[in-house]
C-alpha cells in the first residue's frame, strides 16, 4: 500500500528573487522517482487547502535526497518557501514521467523558465552519449542551475527574451537552427504551453519523436477527481480528456490536442 510520506527537509536555498530549491531526504522517492514525475506537497491547513504539485528537479541516490525547484506564485508556494527545516507531508512520486530508451543515443531537451527544472533529472538519468539542453528564460536574473545543467549535458545553450544573458532569442528559434545541423533521436520539452506547442510542431516537422510535460490546475493529484483535464486524441472521435496527474504530466506531443 502506498503511503503519504512525511520527509525531512535538509536544505532550502533561494536561487533567485522568487525561485527556491528545497532538498528533501527520502529513501522512497530517491529509489522510485523517474524523471518527469512530481510530488504533491501539503503547504498549509485550511488556508491552503489543496496540495501543491511540484516536479522533481533532480535525485541524489547516494544521499537519498531529491530536489524540487519552484517559483513563488501564490499562497501555497509562498508557504513552501518559508519551510526551511522540519518535515514535509507529501504524496510522491506521482504521475507518468519521461520515456527513457537506450536506443536514444542523441537527445535534446528544450526548457522554458521554471519548466527547465524537471529536465535536469532527465538529463542526469539518460544514458545517451549526446545530450543537448536548450534553455530559455525571460531575463538574466531568472537563469538558475546553469552549472548543474552544464554538468549534465554536453551542450548547453541559454537564451533570454531580453538578451541580458546568452542569446537574445526564443528557445524555439534556437531549436530550429540546431535541428538543421543534427537530428536527435528524441526531443523532450517542458515550459509554457505556447513554447511546448511550438517545440512539438518543430519536432514533428523534422520527424523527431517529442515528449511534452503538461501543466494544469490539479485537485487530488492521483487521478480520482478528474479536474486536471488535458485534451488528447483519445477515444472514438479522437478527442477526449486525459488527466495531467495520472495519464501525464508527460505525453507524446502527438497525443495532445493543442487547440
Amino acid at each position: 500500500m502506498k503511503k503519504v510520506l512525511k520527509e525531512q527537509i535538509t536544505q532550502m536555498q533561494q536561487l533567485s528573487g522568487d525561485v527556491y530549491k528545497m532538498t528533501i531526504r527520502s529513501e522512497y522517492v530517491a529509489a522510485n522517482a523517474v524523471p518527469g514525475q512530481f510530488v504533491n506537497i501539503k503547504c498549509g491547513d485550511i488556508d491552503v487547502l489543496l496540495r501543491r504539485p511540484i516536479s522533481i528537479c533532480d535525485v541524489d541516490r547516494k544521499n537519498n535526497t531529491f530536489d524540487i525547484v519552484f517559483q513563488v506564485k501564490g499562497s501555497g508556494t509562498g508557504r513552501l518557501s518559508c519551510m526551511c527545516s522540519g518535515e514535509v507531508d507529501m504524496m510522491a512520486p506521482l504521475g507518468r514521467g519521461f520515456t527513457l530508451d537506450p536506443k536514444h543515443k542523441n537527445i535534446f531537451v528544450v526548457g522554458g523558465g521554471i519548466g527547465t527544472f524537471p529536465l535536469l533529472y532527465l538529463l542526469n538519468s539518460s544514458g545517451a552519449g549526446e545530450k543537448t539542453a536548450l534553455l530559455g528564460f525571460r531575463t538574466k536574473a531568472a537563469v538558475v542551475l546553469e552549472d548543474r545543467f552544464r554538468a549534465a549535458a554536453r551542450h548547453v545553450e541559454i537564451t533570454t527574451d531580453d538578451g541580458t544573458y546568452g542569446r537574445q532569442a526564443f528557445v524555439t528559434e534556437l531549436l530550429e537552427q540546431r535541428l538543421l545541423e543534427q537530428k536527435p533521436d528524441i526531443v523532450y520539452t517542458c515550459g509554457p504551453a505556447i513554447m511546448m506547442r511550438r517545440v512539438a510542431a518543430i519536432a514533428e516537422k523534422h520527424g523527431i519523436p517529442c515528449q511534452v510535460s503538461m501543466e494544469q490546475r490539479m485537485g487530488c493529484g492521483i487521478g480520482a477527481c478528474l479536474v486536471c483535464a488535458c485534451k488528447t486524441k483519445k477515444g472514438e472521435d479522437g478527442q477526449g480528456f486525459s488527466h495531467v496527474c495520472k495519464d501525464g504530466p508527460v505525453f507524446w506531443s502527438t497525443e495532445v490536442c493543442w487547440d
Binding site: M1, K2, K3, V4, K42, I46, D47, V48, L49, L50, R51, M91, Q216, R217, M218, G219, C220, G221, I222, G223, A224, C225, L226, V227, C228, A229, C230, K231, G235, Q239, G240, F241, K246
Partner: protein, 306 residues
C-alpha cells in the same frame, strides 16, 4: 469497551459497516485511493456521477482554490453506465464495502433507463443526482423545483430495484420543501449537500478562473451551511439522511450526525489527506468511547437546541 461499539448503520434496509461513505465525484471508482487506503475499511463509496452515455466533461481549468474550499466544474466526465458495470464495478465488488451508483441524466427517461440498467447489478443503492451545478441540461434544474423532484423521484422509483437516495442541492430557498418532496415521492433516503454554485475571478485576466465560468463549491468553507441544511432536512422527513459538506475530521462528522444524519459522506478532504476516512472512523470510535455510547443511533439527531 471499544469492542462493544457498533459503528454499523442501516439506510433503507442496507447495512453499511460504518457511516463513513466516500462522496460521489471525489473518489472516482475507488482504484486510485485504493492504493492508499484499504477500501474494506470504508462504509461505502458513491461512485463518480454516471450518465447513460459516456461524457467527456468540461474544458479545463476545472478547479479553482478558494478560501477553505474548492470550486470545480468537472461536468460529469464518466465512461457511461454500461462501461461502469463492465469495467469498474467488478473491481469495486471485490471489497467489503457498499457501492452506491450516483446517476445523472438530461431527461427523466435517461434516469429511469439507468436505474433499469443497474437493477441487476451489485450496487447497493442508487443516488439520484438532481443537483449537479456543472451541466447545462438536467442536473440542478431537477433539484431546485419541488414538483420536478417529486416527478423524477416517483418515476425513477418505478424502475429501481435498489433503494433510491435523492441527492439534494443546497442552491434552494428552503431545503425542507425539497426534502419533503423527495420523501413524498418515495425516496428511501436523501443525501445533502451537493456543491454550492460559485464563481472565482482572475483579476488580471478579468475572466473567471473556471473555463465553465461557474462551479460547485465544496470543502470546509461550506460546512456550516451544510450542517444547518442537514439539520433542517432531517427534521423535515422520516427517511434517513446522509450528511456531507466539508467534513475533514471526526469532529466534523459528529456534527453532522448530531444534526440528524444517519451516515456521512467525505469528499474534498480526500484530496488533502487520502487516509482521512480511516482517521474519521478512529476519532468517531474514540468519541463514542469517551461518552459511553455503544451505537450510532445514540448520536444521530441527538442535538439539543439552545
Amino acid at each position: 469497551m471499544s469492542n462493544n461499539i457498533d459503528l454499523s448503520v442501516n439506510i433503507a434496509g442496507i447495512t453499511f459497516n460504518n457511516p463513513v461513505i466516500m462522496a460521489s465525484g471525489t473518489y472516482g471508482f475507488g482504484r486510485e485511493y485504493g492504493e492508499y487506503v484499504d477500501l474494506n475499511a470504508l462504509g461505502g463509496i458513491s461512485v463518480k456521477g454516471l450518465t447513460l452515455k459516456e461524457r467527456a466533461g468540461n474544458p479545463p481549468p476545472r478547479i479553482a482554490e478558494t478560501p477553505g474550499g474548492i470550486l470545480n466544474s468537472v461536468g460529469l466526465q464518466n465512461p457511461g453506465v454500461e462501461a461502469f458495470k463492465e469495467h469498474d464495478l467488478p473491481f469495486l465488488k471485490k471489497y467489503n464495502t457498499r457501492i452506491i451508483a450516483n446517476i445523472s441524466g438530461n431527461t427523466i427517461e435517461e434516469y429511469c433507463k439507468m436505474a433499469e440498467i443497474l437493477g441487476d447489478s451489485e450496487v447497493a443503492a442508487l443516488e439520484l443526482n438532481v443537483s449537479c451545478p456543472n451541466v447545462k441540461a438536467g442536473g440542478m434544474a431537477f433539484g431546485t423545483d419541488p414538483r420536478l423532484i417529486e416527478e423524477i423521484t416517483s418515476e425513477v422509483k418505478k424502475y429501481c430495484r435498489q433503494p433510491l437516495i435523492v441527492k439534494l442541492s443546497p442552491n434552494v430557498g428552503d431545503i425542507k420543501i425539497m426534502a419533503r418532496a423527495a420523501e413524498a415521492a418515495g425516496a428511501d433516503g436523501i443525501s445533502l449537500i451537493n456543491t454550492l454554485l460559485g464563481m472565482a475571478i482572475d483579476i488580471h485576466r478579468r475572466r473567471p478562473i473556471l473555463a465553465n465560468n461557474f462551479g460547485g463549491l465544496s470543502g470546509p468553507a461550506v460546512k456550516p451551511v451544510a450542517v444547518r441544511m442537514v439539520y433542517e432536512a432531517a427534521n423535515a422527513v422520516k427517511i434517513p439522511v446522509i450528511g456531507m459538506g466539508g467534513i475533514s475530521n471526526s469532529d466534523d462528522a459528529i456534527e453532522f450526525l448530531l444534526a440528524g444524519a444517519t451516515a456521512v459522506m467525505v469528499g474534498t478532504a480526500n484530496f488533502v489527506n487520502p487516509t482521512v476516512p480511516v482517521e474519521i472512523l478512529q476519532g468517531l470510535k474514540d468519541y463514542m468511547e469517551n461518552y459511553g455510547l455503544n451505537s450510532l443511533k445514540e448520536l444521530t439527531g441527538a442535538l439539543e437546541l439552545n
